[in-house]
């Protein structure tokens, strides 16, 4: 194949003193203008592998063997000074969180100029200035003096990420490594950033590695996709081919976890979690979580086999796996039924302020008993404010009526009677800050129990185990602290805390946005089960339209503090009326798009 720009051969990365393997036998080739999606769950070693392309290893990790070539340059043989020239010049990196990657004390213009100056781009100041303007135009940002004089905190998240992109592309690198650059951005912003990346890569014939945990994000963007699990590439192939003929059970499970826009599908999480370095089983590391596993799997690592054009897979049973019907073809067309229940929570003409600023205007929604209403919108649309008004957590001025079972609700949780406080429970977005890090799971879950119920010590212990069981966790976790739990487990504990109060209404504020896609799928599974078992009334706040079809009967779309569309989910998704909903739908990344692309 011509135009190969990056070759990685048998790359092994291990922890330095202990020799514990992190990445093993990683083989990659990239041609000019190609985007490779590197996909995997947390702790799969994808970021470690990606940063190694710049010959950068985290503290404690070391490249043991293998080679990395960019053009004819041996990256691993370069000295410190040459490496500095290479990084940012020939190969550049776009980090996950632009907010912390840009120096908060420097104006963005200066930061951009620095890169050009360091790499000696152009011959004169004027030339560099021209390049800077060019870069800003390429990432669709103004290059006015005024804008360049801004500090990073004066830019929005999407703008910051574009500045980071401009910086990465400024010296016309040959290879670019993007480490989850759109995680934490809104769908609309994400769509813009992805478009910018695609345009830049095509225009400058750059080879790109895009690291992500979400297959849907790279589906439209990447030409080829590499799936990593426990430090190995388990499957690599052209995007469309991989989606249609996924040959590794893990790839199939990942596909199952991705929500789709067209047609309903039951989301399936992957039970368990990816083993971290040092705890990986012998043989195929996925075997313990794999439904295809046979005895051979846990005994011996399968070799890499070629199953199609540029399509390689590591699985003993890849033929059988491949023969299964494509994941995306499996659809479940049953629709969620509305029982036509009476309204439990009624929000009428609610306007709320944040400080002195009016942030939601004249909202009318109804939460029906035993049903789920999805509240969709970008960040800043006021959806969290609305959810908090209902939960009694909004400390600023509210006007209008919020009713519960026909009676007006006091504004703040503290002034609501006990019976109402326990009936309405709230699950927070960020599982990392929702649990007190200094309390054990038992202490956290006991809090609602001791406030709302008069249990004896014995009853309380039974109840704790019961509540944990509801969220599919076992009671050995009771003595753990939150930092000993994974993100998914933390979110389950947070849900368990809400359930311990025996609520009738559960408000879920973007409960999956901090989690891996596979973990997100299992949390959705859990919420669906709880809803049908306990008959919870739910308000499900999210920015991901693709998610709501799986869970909500009704949807309310919010934009700039107003509800722009409100109706049954299926109708809204099939035939959106509001301009804003259509835009949101178009920007939501899906895997289907990749199938129809080629």
């Amino acid at each position: 194949m011509s135009g190969i720009i990056l070759t990685v051969e048998d790359l092994d990365i291990a922890l330095d003193p202990s020799g514990v393997e992190v990445d093993h036998e990683v083989n990659l080739e990239l041609v000019e203008g190609e985007i490779l999606g590197l996909v995997g769950e947390s702790a799969s070693g994808k970021t470690t592998a990606a940063t190694s392309l710049l010959n950068f290893q985290r503290r404690g990790a070391k490249i043991v063997s293998g080679s990395i070539h960019i053009g004819d340059r041996d990256v691993l043989a370069l000295g410190a000074a040459q490496l500095r020239q290479l990084r940012g010049g020939v190969i550049s990196y776009v980090p996950q969180d632009p907010g912390s990657a840009l120096n908060p004390a420097l104006r963005i213009g200066l930061q951009l100029r620095e890169v050009l100056e360091f790499h000696g781009f152009g011959d004169s100041e004027a030339e560099r200035r021209k390049r800077l303007e060019e870069m800003m135009a390429e990432v669709l940002l103004p290059s006015t003096k005024e804008f360049l004089r801004r500090y990073p905190h004066q830019l929005s998240g999407g703008q910051q990420q574009r500045v980071a992109l401009a910086m990465a592309f400024s010296c016309r690198p040959k290879v670019i490594v993007l480490d989850e650059p759109t995680t934490g951005l809104d769908v609309t912003t994400q769509a813009h950033v992805l478009n910018t990346i695609r345009d830049l890569v095509t225009a400058h014939r750059v080879a790109a590695v895009y690291v992500t945990h979400d297959l849907a994000v790279v589906a439209e963007l990447a030409h080829r996709i590499a799936v990593m699990y426990a430090g190995r590439l388990v499957e690599i192939g052209p995007a469309a081919e991989l989606f249609a003929g996924a040959s590794h059970p893990y790839t199939r499970r990942l596909l199952h976890a991705v929500p789709v826009l067209t047609g309903r599908r039951t989301l399936e999480g992957i039970p368990g979690f990816a083993p971290r370095p040092g705890h990986r089983p012998a043989g195929c590391a996925f075997a313990p979580r794999c439904s295809y596993a046979v005895a051979k799997c846990s005994a011996e690592m399968p070799p890499e086999e070629i199953v199609g054009e540029m399509h390689r897979v590591r699985c003993w049973r890849h033929e059988e796996v491949r023969a299964q019907a494509p994941v995306l073809a499996q659809k479940d067309d049953s629709s969620l039924e509305s029982g036509g229940e009476a309204g439990l929570i009624t929000v009428r003409g609610v306007t709320a302020w944040y400080g002195s600023k009016e942030c939601i205007h004249d909202i009318d929604i109804t939460l029906r008993a035993r049903e789920c209403l999805a509240l969709v919108g970008e960040s800043g649309s006021g959806k969290t404010t609305l959810a908090r008004c209902i939960a009694g957590l909004h400390h600023f001025r509210i006007e209008g009526d919020i009713g519960f079972q026909g009676k007006a609700l006091p504004r703040l949780a503290g002034s609501r009677p006990r019976a109402i406080r326990h009936a309405i429970q709230y699950v927070f977005q960020n599982p990392y800050s929702a649990l007190n890090p200094r309390k054990t799971v038992a202490q956290i879950l006991s809090q609602p129990l001791s406030i709302f119920f008069d249990y004896t010590r014995h009853q309380r212990e039974d109840r704790l185990a019961e509540v944990l069981d509801l969220v599919s966790l076992d009671d050995t976790l009771l003595s753990r602290y939150p930092d000993q739990l994974s993100g998914g487990e933390r979110q389950r504990v947070a849900i368990a805390r809400a359930l311990a109060a025996e609520p009738t209404v559960l408000i879920c504020d973007e409960v999956t946005s901090w989690l891996d896609v596979s973990v997100q799928a299992s949390i959705i599974e859990l919420l669906l089960r709880l809803q049908s078992e306990i008959g919870l009334c739910m308000l499900f706040v999210t920015h991901n339209l693709a998610l709501i079809r799986s869970i909500a009967y009704d949807v309310a779309v919010m934009s700039e503090g107003r509800i722009v569309e409100y109706g049954p989910t299926d109708d809204v998704l099939a035939d959106p009326q509001a301009e804003y909903t259509r835009k949101l739908l178009a920007d939501t990344p899906t895997i289907e798009a990749a199938l129809f692309k080629t």
Binding site: S18, A43, R59, R84, V94, A101, A413, N436, P437, Q447
Partner: protein, 325 residues
Amino acid sequence: MSANDSVSAGERRVDALDVSPDEALSETLGHDLEPSPARGKQRRRDWVQLPLDALHYRVTQAGLAISLFIVAMAVVGPYIAPYSPYEFVTAPYAKPSATAWLGGDNLGRDVVSRVLCGGRTVLSLSFIATAIGMILGVVLGLVAGYARTVINEVIMRGLDVLLAFPQIVFVLLIISVLGPQVWLLVLGVGVTLAPPIARVVYGVTVEIKERDFVMAAESLGVSHLKIAFTEILPNIVSPLMVEFGLNLTFAIGTIASLSFLGFGMQPPAADWGLMINENRVGLVIQPYSVFVPVTLIAILAIGVNLVTDGVAHAMIGIDRDTGSA
């Protein structure tokens, strides 16, 4: 900024982990979404775990050895002193001899005996003063930091007024008005220590109260006072430990200075600060009676500071993962 820096920025997310030094290596490689089976169930509470972690560092070990040496001297000293500290053993400012190893002081009392007996007061008084300062500072800072109302302003501006007085001047003022009493000295020093502590506690509290778990407790209807002391306080234990060490050093210095100025312990009590004052006239003739207590106070301050350093070091490990992942 070059790509070089960007890469280290990428590392940040993973560095935001709660790890003990031993596990740091394997932890850096996995993302923070995974639990570590290695970090078993035997993890203890902060106020136990932090000092234990701190002991891994050389600084702490050295500091602890130094501090314990001085403490032991102060505690055991009176029992092993060759003479009573009030006994006239030799001539004023006598040179060291077989009877008085470090010579005599301004009145001819044995310097060794006075040094051995004079540590108790400094140590215990500064410890009590620090405790008073901590309790006051923590309560005020916590309440001010958590309160969203006018209470916040009242407390913090009140503390600003206190903060504006130089510490020694404030204590001198109340002592010269009410007379040199030991309890007044301790209370005075304690009160002047409180404002800076309250500032630190206030700052941390303001940050912690924004975390969702505080809001979660509010939504359950937990009372404000209870939230402040059971939800927020446990999260600021580690900075408090460092504060305690720092303030103990301040208190030692202040109390010794006040004794030196004649406002602390009164003659004929044996006290390091007082000894410096009494004997400074004869510094040229008989340096030991000044030099030894000065050195001991300095060593004690250094020791406490080293321990504090170690605890601060260990704290970086413990406090990493508290919600900002």
